[in-house]
Amino acid sequence: MYALSVQNLKKIYGNKLTALKGINLEVEEGDFFALLGPNGAGKSTTIGILCSLVNKTSGKVFVFDYDIDTDLEAAKSCIGVVPQELNFNPFEKVQDILTNQAGYYGIPKNVAVPRAEYYLKKLGIWDKRSQPAVRLSGGMKRRLMIARALINEPKLLILDEPTAGVDIELRYELWEFLTELNQKGTTIILTTHYLEEAERLCKNVAIIDHGEIIEHSNIKSLINRLNVQTLILDLRAPAHSLSNSKFHFRMLDELTMEVEVLRDMSINALINELTEQGLVVSSMRNKTNRLEELFVRLIAENKKSEAQIL
């Protein structure tokens, strides 16, 4: 059984704007799944359809085998969602937001109150429980939405850019928290801009662009497929070029060199060549993280193939 199965899902906003062009997605039970894509790709639209905030134009969605067309309530009771934008009543008290949300799911007060306490403590906002939500800081508001999404103990947790605009410390805390949750058996789907986040947390990934899935696979095998990496080298002394190099390179400035290393070449070969030409490298790093590199290339290819169609 899949935690989520999406078949030929289409969404056209207001008869004009095609946000999803018929996507297929499968997320296994227990997976930590990343849905990646540039702004406007259709990530939030997809999530909106899953939790019935957006009406789909056509296609099928199954959540733990419940068809959202025929078993909507059962499907929804499996899902917890953390939306991209704040969507609580800012004047409601933190604790009431949680217990009311539990109530909507049919969870009685005697269960909801201790559960709210557990998640508020877990997410570090317990001492704010009697405050109206508007008084929380940005990071706390996001944690509140995560606590709220967990109040029905969902089997599938969906987070739409949960770490956007969140400081580094909280991001690390959230990563740890989500990893723990996933290890305890919750299936997690995450959309994100931070590819590092996907690389660290997720097992499988789909890349969406212009309403189409352009990649749907295991994150490790995806990264292995990357046949080139770009390195940035900081040089000890100014240089102008490498003569007759088999490496593709360019100088960013006198002291910084960008080199592309293909998969069948080794870094040793590069170092050897640099040493032969008398260049001393003081430090070296990847230009971007590898997933990001792949991502940028895939999106660029997609653009090219689209241009050809047009």
Partner: protein, 259 residues
Amino acid sequence: MNTEHFKTVVAFRTVLRKEITRFLRIWSQTLFPPVITMTLYFIIFGKLIGTQINKIDGYTYMQYIVPGLVMMSIMTNSYANTAGSFFGAKFSKSIEEMLVSSMPSYVILFGYMCGGALRGLSVGVIVVFISLFFTEIHIQHLGIVILMAVLSALLFSLGGLINAIFAKNFDDISFIPTFVLTPLTYLGGVFYSIKQLPPQWQAISILNPILNMVDTFRFGMLGVSDLNIYFGFSLVCVLYICLLIWCLILLKKGVGLRT
């Protein structure tokens, strides 16, 4: 009680409790203003002007306007409650909390509808109390009074909900009350008996549903009426069922709520 049934009851109680808490918390905007306006109505129309007016159907003018003012309060407050609260939830997007939950849409409807009706009825009771400072009322048919009060509260509560569903900004939830409901209420026999009108205006007035409701309610309180109370009663029932079905369809489809 099976689990699904139990969950539905819990969900309904949650929405209803939230609605009641809301109008009690902001009582100075919900329960208190009618106290002021109705006291003014009783003083000005009842005492100052009313004493110069002949009895209508054997009642003093003060007594005659009490049922209409009670009904007017119930209707406007029920409507304002759901319109304001539901549109507020749309505006802050907290409506999404309900939409993503496993609660069926009819539970949202019943929760808001009952919450709004309860505010209307609370204000109705308050207005009855205020009227007792000014005059004596002996309720003639308590059953009819309660039935009409509850049905009208539910009807206008639903009306407010539908208004909020379609509303895109705060102006949209004041348009209908200002330009439709208030005129119909003032022309709805709250302050006069339509027998005082020329025949052609009487004929037109009968088409005003609020007039029929006020008239039937007045029959319950005072035992006098201008129109057929069975018609008034049936009208509320039919209107209520129509709005209920309409509202269920709107919520099910997600009109104004889902993109």
